[in-house]
Symmetry: C4
Subunit: 173 residues, 4 copies
């Protein structure tokens, strides 16, 4: 999946402090719980973004997201390489993106998903548009839809909660 506009509401916060510039992004704790749960159920999660910042790595680490590709302007190549590396077939790949720079990644995805506040061009090309807007739970909705389609959502909740109680250091939300 894409990051800005998909995992966030599309706002890039830039700050000016005495010591230099600051870059800030806001992530949803409910998306976070969905991604932790996805990881617990064995889904391979990857973030692919044209920008680059240590804050994105920090968030991925908190949630146990194993694949992060930053400064990826050509998301088609990044997604193809990852698909090959993980030994997946294209129909096993679901990609979520919110804007025109995600179109190349759509070309190599089995399931194309966009977010509720995406432009019409994206909705027209996606198999499915989430009800939630980017950064407002769209990714949580996707995780839930995938696990429900696999008949594993209730099992996912139970697995996630059991891990919270058992694991000394489970992923965050």
């Amino acid at each position: 999946m894409d990051v800005d506009g998909t995992l966030t509401d599309g706002t890039i916060f830039l700050g000016a402090a005495a010591e230099g510039l600051i870059e800030i992004r806001g992530f949803s704790v409910r998306d976070g719980l969905g991604l932790s749960l996805a990881g617990a159920m064995g889904l391979e999660v990857a973030w692919i973004t044209g920008r680059a910042s240590p804050l994105v790595l920090k968030r991925a680490e908190e949630l146990g997201v194993p694949h992060v590709c930053q400064r990826c302007r050509d998301k088609r190549r990044a997604l193809s390489e990852l698909t090959e590396r993980l030994g997946l077939r294209r129909e096993e790949v679901l990609y979520v993106g919110d804007d025109l720079n995600d179109l190349p990644a759509f070309e190599v995805s089995g399931v194309r998903v966009t977010v509720g506040d995406a432009p019409e061009e994206m909705k027209a090309r996606a198999h499915w548009t989430t009800a939630a807007a980017g950064g407002k739970g769209a990714i949580r909705e996707v995780v839930e839809a995938v696990l429900k389609a696999q008949g594993r959502w209730e099992e996912g909740i139970a697995t996630f909660v059991a891990r919270l109680l058992r694991d000394p250091d489970p992923p965050l939300q």
Copy 2:
């Protein structure tokens, strides 16, 4: 109560500055006034969160919140221990949480409350869902509902305002 998604709108802001990473959370000043008022009326307020940051301690200190449990992945145990330590019965414990990681705490709470924008799984298990979303006044609504149920809301306002005028350093909002 839980913190992220309950006392906040669920947004985790992460920033990258020259000197390292920054973590930011947004709290509601109206929730803050509710918690100050709750404290003035003798309610024992506790925050239980899986994350850990000095900013949460700072906010608790501003509002005079006496119990803060950070890095609590197992919220059931944290809440049980606090209940015992305070000499309370389970039916005297009201817990507010917004997501699946709060389910274990629900098991040991007399009154289970969730927020207006919580997922269906939470609403189905809660005794009551606030009209307001997390971070948008849900906690204020809970404080008001509890004090009104006890017939002490008007007294609460009077006590709170009197303290503002009398106390040299009252809790903030």
Copy 3:
């Protein structure tokens, strides 16, 4: 007027950085223009807040707001003293506040105003409730209403624009 919840949407952002804590508030540029225009038309603007931070002074300075009272828990006293110092009568004082800690200031104000998203207790005690919520243009609405009531709104726009073009360093918005 009050600051948090009135000039802002009530969100207190707290951040944790390597060097210590950060406090952030978000102000509306449209409220800012309203306050600059109010100053250009000779209205005396004052901010009265229970909290204290240099960022509030910075914002007041940008807008040319002449009176700022921070760490004012007893807003009634602060407003009374200011009224006396400026040689005003109570009926010349309009106060805008969003929550219960503003009630004491209401007692010494000729016109009591609250914001669109204020609790019912405030709306019941206010002469007027703005359509806009706090931080979303409520103060701009108040400035416009006052100048329109005085028949000076169009003159205000003209004065404000003329000053932009003439003054080498006019207040910001």
Copy 4:
């Protein structure tokens, strides 16, 4: 175009840290993509703002925006000078602004545009008001409208995507 309230939702975030004050603004990644696409199609984009901060220069640099005028209180003069310098006629100039301090720039613009949440004074003087509010895609909407009016929107998408795949370091979104 104007910056605050037009490229942002009008919120000026001010922060107080141990080392001094911080100024933060939030930009839309969808507006960003629109501006990158506008640049790829040969539109000359300029930002004209009364405030001044290195964060605005940083954002302009990310998007390849060639003209940035900060601390411009007299936007009419700034826009006139730029028009002349670029050898444009007034009817080739489209200006987007959200508030009264943009009125002087309207006087020297061929097409006057304001944003969906602008005050009535702006909407009454604008040729067109975007559906989106400032900072919520208003600028994306303007870029799309201009290129569609020129019959170049589809070409714009194709050009933009081709550049993403070919250019080693294309503008960000």
